[in-house]
């Protein structure tokens, strides 16, 4: 204990003395100063006159965005790949096997550089952008899509959407109860999807379609208007998702294989179709094996997003831990902030996954 304390005393004292020797102060006042640099992807209002604190927030949101999108895509992809890997179709299973082995045995940084390189070098310039149905434009400056512009009266559609979601949830609960009581199965998924899409659509048409699309148009240099996704964001998102999905696929596979073969046979003996067995019997049990390692994959993905630095995606490492550090010379302070931000990201993810793990845990009686 004394040794540990001495160690901490040493490093803190050393840092303070070294800062003193350089004549530097330890203070976070710089966060209020104007940042004076521009950021190419901002989820909130930001100009070069905004403060360093705001630039930090932009970076945090950019990290959160790529981590969130990455977790979603990696999970969906990972589950699909994991299930296909176990399929009886030899070809499908082999293709997925090769994909997984390639993806997880190559460092994620190379995936990021590879996808970024392909986008920058092989996609055409904005003038010759590949157009997908005249709505999506692919170019080496980014992917452009039309931006929705909401007119008066769109509120009704939003309200209808809310009502539809609540109705679907109520119906789902009711259908589950009916199934438990009588064994009668409703096509819950189809009906819910129908209601959630259908009701807002009808309201939308009745209220006179209060929505227009702002199309990207060719300006002097780039496409202007619409929504744009930078190649840096896309490369990072896809690379992180593919890489992590390979690990998730293996976790899902091992989770499913951990379920006793007898479960399949018992369900089969009741005359339930294979897809339903997977959905109702196997996956719910497999989840208990899958969730804990899945949580650590989510943490890895979030932390790996700091590799954004290699291609210039403006995450927290690039804003507060990069440009702000450089322009203010506050190495110690900015690095402490970056460390704390990653720590909080990780703790939030862990807390959520632990909560979910408890929720689905086997209830022993």
């Amino acid at each position: 204990m004394a040794l540990l304390f001495a160690f901490f005393a040493y490093i803190i004292n050393n840092a303070v003395l070294n800062l003193q020797a350089l004549g530097k102060t330890f203070s976070f006042d710089f966060l209020q100063e104007p940042a004076s640099y521009d950021i190419n992807q901002t989820l909130i209002e930001y100009t070069s006159r905004s403060s360093h604190a705001r630039a930090m927030l932009v970076g945090i949101l950019n990290t959160a965005l790529v981590a969130f999108c990455g977790v979603i895509l990696a999970t969906v992809l990972g589950f699909i790949l994991g299930v296909i890997r176990l399929s009886n179709n030899w070809l499908a299973s082999r293709i997925v096997y090769v994909f997984i082995e390639f993806t997880r045995n190559v460092p994620v940084l190379l995936h990021i550089l590879l996808i970024h390189g392909i986008m920058v070098h092989f996609l055409p310039l904005p003038k010759q952008a590949i157009s997908v149905g005249d709505a999506l434009f692919l170019s080496n400056r980014g992917v452009y899509a039309p931006r929705p512009e909401f007119l008066d009266g769109f509120g009704f559609t939003v309200a209808a959407f809310g009502i539809a979601v609540i109705a679907a949830l109520v119906f789902r609960r009711w259908a589950k109860k009916v199934q438990e009581d009588t064994g009668k199965i409703y096509p819950v998924f189809l009906i819910c999807t129908g209601v959630i899409i259908g009701l807002p659509l009808i309201v939308f048409l009745i209220s006179g379609s209060p929505l227009v699309w702002e199309m990207p148009k060719m300006g002097r240099f780039n496409l202007q208007g619409g929504v744009m996704m930078l190649p840096e964001f896309l490369a990072l998102w896809l690379a992180l998702s593919f890489y992590t999905s390979a690990f998730i696929a293996e976790i899902v596979r091992s989770g499913i294989m951990a379920i006793n073969k007898g479960q399949w046979e018992a369900a089969g003996a009741l005359g339930i179709r294979r897809n339903r067995v997977l959905q109702l019997v196997i996956i719910p049990q497999a989840l208990r094996v899958i969730i804990p390692p899945l949580a650590s994959q989510y943490l890895n993905l979030t932390k790996n997003s700091s590799l954004a630095i290699a291609i210039g995606y403006m995450d927290i490492v690039a804003t507060i831990g990069g440009i702000t550090l450089m322009q203010t010379g506050k190495e110690m302070e900015t690095m402490i902030i970056v460390l704390l931000i990653y720590l909080s990201f990780s703790l939030v993810i862990s807390a959520f996954m632990n909560w979910y793990n408890k929720r689905i845990a086997l209830v022993e009686r």
Partner: protein, 339 residues
């Protein structure tokens, strides 16, 4: 639990270690026998690795001159390549003794970041390069353009200010080092690339068809580039400063790498005699010997020679002396008197 006495003992030991570690840079360099010099990771003309894998360029040669003055041999240099972001940390953590890496002298870096700037060895300004085919004649026509930029440098701030002042929009593409920036520019990831005008000329020289690219006329900033040392070591600061001045004075006095030895034996005037150590002992005041400046000049030549062999009009970089000519030729380079 722990005992209070052991904490006090540990803390005392810590203070002892930390204060004992303070030593003068000159002593460190002499003891090590090698000068640790922080340079650019690769900027043709300034500091880059040539075809044989040796460091070359204007900044690299300046380093060798300082090494020759201090250690007697211009080859006793270890080059430490650094990006815009890592250079000051490398200096402050004592990984390097001096930065010779086209670094801009600014108020904040000097006063608040606590660096000591020696003297501008290259007076520069930030410009833009763009493909001729884009038909742009002025930087003010760049509204809506995508601009590649080295992140963590003053160029980033100047760029933001320039576009804001002219009320035009742009998309910055931040990139870590200059070779990466060159690749992205050539792949047309960005319409224009901005950095110091010397850097643009150096970069353009490496292109397959330099004439397809045009450097726009606007120079949007002042960029006095020069060596940097840690704050608070005045002796070391003086050594680097006067080594640089010795090169400038040598050019003014007509001392070259070829004639320096001869000049030292038969100095044409007292100024040259003091500079080359034939008269007085300026070297001792720096903690060096008499021939320090002579060796600095002999290593790679005087200021003009270093400029012409690395950046001058006869090189692929092809830069005019411009502001970097001696004051006697209408430039800004001026060494205080050696007396």
């Amino acid at each position: 639990m722990f005992k209070r006495a052991s904490i006090v003992a540990a803390a005392a030991a810590v203070v002892g270690i930390a204060t004992g570690a303070q030593a003068a840079t000159l002593d460190d360099v002499k003891a090590r026998g090698v000068l640790h010099c922080i340079v650019n990771t690769g900027l043709p003309g300034f500091s880059f690795t040539d075809a044989n894998g040796n460091w070359a360029g204007f900044d690299a040669d300046m380093c060798r001159s300082v090494a020759a003055a201090v250690l007697g041999d211009g080859d006793k240099v270890k080059f430490i390549p650094a990006t815009g972001k890592t250079r000051f940390t490398l200096l402050n953590s004592k990984e390097g003794d001096v930065i010779f890496r086209n670094t801009t002298w600014t108020f904040v870096r000097d006063v608040d970041v606590k660096l000591t700037f020696i003297h501008p060895t290259y007076y520069d300004g930030q410009g833009f390069i763009i493909r001729k085919s884009k038909g742009v004649k002025s930087a003010k026509e760049l509204d809506g353009a995508t601009v590649c930029i080295q992140t963590g440098t003053t160029t980033e701030l100047n760029l933001a200010d320039f576009f804001r002042a002219n009320n035009i929009k742009y998309t910055p593409v931040p990139i870590e080092d200059s070779s990466e920036a060159r690749k992205n520019y050539l792949a047309d990831r960005c319409d224009a690339y901005t950095t110091d005008a010397s850097g643009l000329a150096a970069t353009r020289a490496t292109f397959e068809k330099p004439s397809d690219h045009v450097i726009l006329p606007e120079i949007i900033s002042k960029e006095p580039l020069g060596p940097v040392v840690r704050h608070g070591d005045n002796q070391w600061e003086d050594i680097v400063r006067w080594a640089v001045f010795a090169l400038i004075q040598a050019e003014e006095s007509g001392v070259t790498a070829a004639n320096a030895d001869e000049m030292a034996k038969n100095p044409p005037n007292p100024d040259v005699a003091r500079l080359l150590g034939a008269e007085g002992d300026l070297g001792a005041m720096l903690g060096l010997d008499k021939a320090w400046a002579l060796r600095a000049i002999k290593a790679r030549g005087n200021f003009g020679e270093i400029f012409e062999s690395n950046l001058g009009t006869k090189t692929p970089i092809g830069l005019e002396r411009g502001l970097n000519a001696l004051y006697t030729a209408g430039g800004l380079q001026y060494a205080p008197p050696f007396r």
